[in-house]
């Protein structure tokens, strides 16, 4: 089981080496660092596309269709597409049932498509702790684009926005009223909104409330749905700097993923967004922010690891029991523990 992974084999398309590398990263083995170091110079090319939304909206089915469409079907010009599918780990047993592949059976054995299921392992933001590292390795292996499907996300699982270049939020009819649409959270991170299951009753209402939400929330570019005068009135008052991302109006698309309806338009839109990111310079901005944050997260983890290895367990227990006896609050205890050891 401890066979070593040759990073250059991954570059050359050895899929078992790639699969083993992902396992090493997931388990945080010393080897994982060597792999990432070797592949890092080759990364930064892949378009990371996040697919998020509530459970049961059809994310996996949509990914199934998207992956095939993005790869293309012309022999000789097939792209290499990777899918990272994250499902939740049980908070009780630590185990997980990863079922996204059930909806992706069309992709198994398709040339150029690599799917990896990933358990969230206690991470809360809709991704796993190592999803970013997975994307880096797949990027280094030449996969582009990389589709990242989050766990069934509610309102606050927005970590995907920090990782992906393009975020697709998938909605389905009948999941909430128009007030849900103007709440903060997951809808705010969408670059593309998709109403899947558009053959179900109520789909038009869902599309309308999403469009209305966009008209309320964003600057002039998203107000295409509203009248011209209203647009001028609103935009004069709504110039919050970040909202005015010139040139990209979040579109609302309808799909029926089971039948492949609307997926061609969605693929077009994904490619359009990529072109927009590149021409506006936002691609680079996102990359820079992501790498900075990756670094910060790793520093944070390493410091905690380091401290856990240093701390005297007896002393820690003593302090805990004193907190339990309410001699002083946890914040004071933490400060004293850290300053003793730093």
């Amino acid at each position: 089981m401890m066979s070593s992974v040759d990073p250059m084999a991954i570059r050359q398309g050895d899929r078992l080496a790639l699969a083993k590398a992902l396992t090493a990263i997931e388990n945080g083995t010393p080897e994982s660092q060597i792999i990432q170091e070797a592949l890092f110079p080759y990364t930064g090319n892949a378009h990371l596309v996040g697919i998020t939304g509530a459970s049961g909206t059809g994310k996996s089915t949509l990914v199934n269709k998207l992956a095939l469409a993005l790869r293309g079907s012309k022999k000789g010009s097939l792209k290499k597409i990777a899918v990272i599918a994250v499902d939740p780990s049980s908070p009780f047993s630590g185990g997980a049932l990863l079922g996204d592949r059930i909806r992706m059976q069309d992709l198994v054995g398709e040339e150029g498509i690599f799917i990896r299921s990933m358990a969230s392992r206690g991470a809360m933001g809709g991704l796993a702790h190592n999803t970013a590292a997975f994307a880096t390795v797949l990027d280094g292996a030449g996969y582009d684009p990389i589709l990242i499907e989050t766990v069934g996300a509610g309102q606050t699982e927005v970590e995907i926005a920090q990782l992906a270049h393009t975020v697709i939020v998938v909605e389905a009819p009948g999941l909430g009223d128009d007030i849900q649409a103007i709440k903060a959270g997951i809808l705010e991170i969408a670059d593309i909104l998709v109403v899947n299951k558009a053959d179900k009753p109520g789909a038009e209402n869902t599309v309308r409330s999403l469009q209305a939400m966009l008209a309320l929330a964003k600057g002039e570019n998203s107000l295409l749905a509203a009248g011209k005068h209203m647009r001028q009135q609103l935009t004069s008052k709504m110039r919050s700097p970040e909202k005015i991302s010139k040139g990209w109006a979040v579109p609302v698309l309808s799909t029926v993923a089971t039948e492949g309806k609307g997926t061609a338009q969605l693929v077009q839109m994904i490619n359009k967004h990529r072109a927009y990111l590149a021409s506006s310079g936002l691609w680079q901005v996102k990359e820079n922010e992501r790498l900075r944050r990756d670094l910060e997260v790793i520093i944070h983890d390493l410091l905690v690891d380091q401290w856990e290895r240093q701390v005297d367990p007896d002393q820690l227990e003593m302090v805990v029991s004193e907190v339990i006896q309410r001699k002083y609050p946890p914040v004071k205890a933490a400060e004293s523990l850290l300053s003793i050891k730093s």
């Binding site: 089981m1 066979s3 899929r15 078992l16 699969a19 083993k20 992902l22 396992t23 997931e26 388990n27 945080g28 780990s89 049980s90 009780f92 047993s93 630590g94 185990g95 997980a96 049932l97 990863l98 079922g99 592949r101 059930i102 059976q105 198994v108 054995g109 690599f114 799917i115 990896r116 299921s117 358990a119 392992r121 206690g122 702790h129 190592n130 983890d301």
Partner: protein, 132 residues
Amino acid sequence: MTEKKIRVLIAKPGLDGHDRGAKVIARALRDAGMEVIYTGLRQTPEMIAEAALQEDVDVVGLSILSGAHNALVPSVVDKLHGFGMDNVKVFVGGIIPKEDIQILKEKGVHAVYGPGTDTRDVIEDIRQAVKT
């Protein structure tokens, strides 16, 4: 946060559509702290081996009720070997006649389970098998 988890692929090769047993096992293994990838019904041996490769699993569990085990199971085992996945342990569950169990084991199957198997036995066997 970063610890080794046992990864298991549960698959149903062939054409029978009864996956209650597969789901019960998948659930039990999940509750035992394993990461279980369930691929659904009607898988070919190629699909199963391919999924096992991409997911880099430690164990493949095959659920078969159709009677086609002597054809399907060795094919899965061969394809796993073909991919260089010699360490993967293959378990089979379902309706397997006694005389076939030995045949499957000779083909490289680690263990075979019939109806009424206690899931705790399966969990323990998997833990032992992966350890070695």
